[in-house]
C-alpha cells in the first residue's frame, strides 16, 4: 500500500488535487482539499451527504471554477480548462442523475460517445467504421445491454440507463473515470455484477477510477485507497481497513462530529 509522498517527486500521479477551495457565496463547499490518484488504481471518495463530494467532481472535470488550489492531470494544470477540453484529455465523469440521449438508440448513444480526441471534423462525416460499431456492441455486451441495443435509450429503466452511461464512458476510451454513485438506484442483486465490471474496466482496459459511493460494502471491497470528506474538508484517507476503523469517519457518518 502506498504512502503519502512528497509532492516534489518527479513521476507525478495521474490526478492530483492540491489545496482546492471552492466557495458558493459564503458557503465553503470544499476547503483546502488535496488528493491524488495513481495511474491504474481504483480510489474511493466517501463522505456524508452534503460533504462536498459531487462539488469536488464538478471542480475537477471543469464544471465549476475553483477559488484556490491546483488540479493536475497527466502533468498538466487543468483548473482553468472547461469540461469538453478536460474530457478530451481523457478525464471523464458520469452523473449522479444519469445523462443519456433518450431519443437515440443504445447503439447511437455509443457511437456519439466515441472520443473526439485525435479525431478531426471530417471523421464525423462517416457513419462510424465497422470496428467502431463492433466495439460499441462489445461494450454494450460488456454491460449487459446487447439485447437492448436498438431500443431507444429513453425507454430503458433507470438502472439500465446507468449501465448505458457507464458503457458510453468506456466507449470514449478515457484514461480516468470519475463515477458519481455508480450503484445508486441499481437493483441490489445486480450490484455485484456491476462491481465486477468496474474492476474489469480497471484491470482489462487500464482505466483509472475515482468513485463516489455511499454503499460501504461496495467501496471497501472495490477501492484500494479511500478518501473521506466531511463538511467540505478532507477528514481522513487511507486503505479501506484503516478507514473502516477510523473513529473520525464513523463519527462523521453518525453525525457526531
Amino acid at each position: 500500500m502506498r504512502e503519502k509522498r512528497d509532492w516534489q517527486v518527479q513521476d507525478r500521479p495521474l490526478l492530483e488535487v492540491k489545496n482546492l477551495t471552492k466557495r458558493f457565496g459564503g458557503v465553503v463547499a470544499n476547503h483546502n482539499v488535496s488528493l491524488f490518484v495513481e495511474r491504474g488504481t481504483i480510489v474511493g471518495l466517501i463522505g456524508p451527504n452534503g460533504s462536498g463530494k459531487t462539488t469536488l467532481f464538478n471542480c475537477i472535470v471543469g464544471q465549476y471554477p475553483i477559488d484556490e488550489g491546483e488540479i493536475w492531470f497527466e502533468g498538466e494544470e487543468i483548473s482553468r480548462y472547461r469540461t469538453a477540453h478536460i474530457a478530451r484529455m481523457g478525464l471523464m465523469r458520469t452523473f449522479q442523475q444519469t445523462r443519456i440521449f433518450g431519443k437515440m438508440t443504445c447503439v447511437e448513444n455509443m457511437l456519439v460517445s466515441m472520443s473526439e480526441r485525435r479525431r478531426r471534423l471530417t471523421d464525423l462525416f462517416t457513419p462510424g467504421s465497422r470496428a467502431d460499431r463492433a466495439r460499441a456492441l462489445d461494450l454494450l455486451q460488456f454491460v449487459g445491454l446487447y439485447s437492448k441495443r436498438h431500443h431507444l435509450a429513453g425507454s430503458l429503466s433507470f438502472g439500465q440507463q446507468k449501465l448505458l452511461e457507464f458503457a458510453m464512458a468506456l466507449m470514449s476510451e478515457p484514461e480516468m473515470l470519475l463515477l458519481d454513485e455508480p450503484t445508486a438506484g441499481i437493483n441490489p442483486t445486480l450490484i455485484n455484477g456491476l462491481v465486477d465490471r468496474l474492476r474489469r474496466a480497471n484491470a482489462e482496459l487500464g482505466i483509472t477510477l475515482l468513485v463516489i459511493e455511499h454503499n460501504m460494502r461496495v467501496i471497501m471491497n472495490l477501492a484500494e485507497y479511500i478518501y473521506c470528506l466531511a463538511h467540505g474538508e478532507m477528514l481522513a484517507s487511507g486503505p479501506p481497513e484503516e478507514i473502516r476503523n477510523d473513529q473520525r469517519v464513523i463519527d462523521a457518518y453518525l453525525g457526531a462530529t
Binding site: 469538453a84 477540453h85 471523464m92 443519456i100 449487459g144 455484477g193
Partner: protein
Amino acid sequence: MNRKMAQLLALAALFGIGLLGPWLAPSYISQFAQLWLFIVLALSWDIMGGQTGYNSFGNIIFFGIGMYVSAVAQVGLVWPVAEYTAAKGGGTEFVFNADQIHAGLALGIPLGGLVAMLAAIVLGALLLGMRGHYFAIATLGLAVATAELAAGWDYIGAGSGMVTPTLPGDMNGPVLFYYLSLGLAIVTILVFAWVYSTRFRLAINAIRDDEDKAEALGHHTTRNKMTAWAISALFTGMAGAIYGNLSGFIDPHDIAFNAEIGVWMILMAILGGKGTLWGPIIGAIVFFISKELFWTYLLGWQRVALGLLIVIIVVFFPEGIMGWVRERWPHLFAPPHLDDEEDDETPAGADEDKEAAHA
C-alpha cells in the same frame, strides 16, 4: 419494402415531377421554381433549428448575402458594378449576352453560397459559444442590422436595390432558373440525406438533446454547431443567388433580407416536422401550395395570418406533419432492428444481459 427503398422511391417521384414540371404546368413555372428554393431554405434552416436545436432567426442573412454576392459577381464579370448600380440597372447601356449570363451564374451561385458560408463561420465563431435562446435573439437582431447596413451601402444600390443582369431576348429565363432551382434542390436533399446518415447527425442531435452531456463527452460542440450553420448557410446562400435572378430585382428590405421569408423558413420546417429529413420538404410543399392558394384572398391580412399560424403550429402542433404521421402510423418509425443489417455478428454469450434486463 424497407424504409430505405421507400425513401428512394419518394425521392425519385419528387424528382420525376420536378423534371416534368415545366411541361405539366408551363404557366406556373416561376412558382414551382420558388417551391424548389423554399425546400432548400426549409431543409437548411432545419439542420440548425431542428437537428441541432439552435433556432436561427437570422438565416435570412445568408439568403440575402448569397443574392447580393451572386448579383455583384454576375454583373462584375462584364461591367463595373458601381456604375451599373448607379444607373439603376442601366437600361440599354449594360447588356449581357448568353455566354456572359451563363458564366455569371456559374460563378455567382457557388460564390454566393461560399460567401454566405464564410459569414456563418464568422458569425458562428462569435455567437455559437452561447446557448440556444441567446443565439436565437442575437440572430434576430443581426438579421435586421444586416438589412439596415445593406440599405446604406451605395455600391450595391443602397435602399433602392439593384437589378440582376437582364437576359438577352433569345434566352428562356424562367426555364433556365427553374432547372437551376430544381438542380439545387436535388443536390441539397441528397447532401442532407448523406449528412444525416453520418455520425455528424448524432453529434448535433446530442447538442440538441443535452448539450452539457455532449460537452462532458468531450465533443467540440461549438465547432460542430458552426459546421452545421455553415452547411445551412451554404445552401441558403445558393438559394438566395437563384432567387435574386428569378425575381430580377434585389431590394434590401423587400427581397434580399425580407423578414417574411425569414419567418417562412422556420414555419415550413416546423409545419413539416423539425429534426427530420422529410419534414421540411413536406412542410415547404404544403406551406407553399396553401400560400399560393389562399394568400391572395387574405388581402393584406396574410401577414397577420402568418403570425397566427406560427402561434398555432408552435403551441398545438410542435411536432408537425411528420410528428402526426409518427403518431398515426408508429410502425413506420419503429426502431431499425426490424430490418437489421448487423445482427449476424452477435457476440457470444449474449444472454448474459438478461440480468441487466431486470435492472
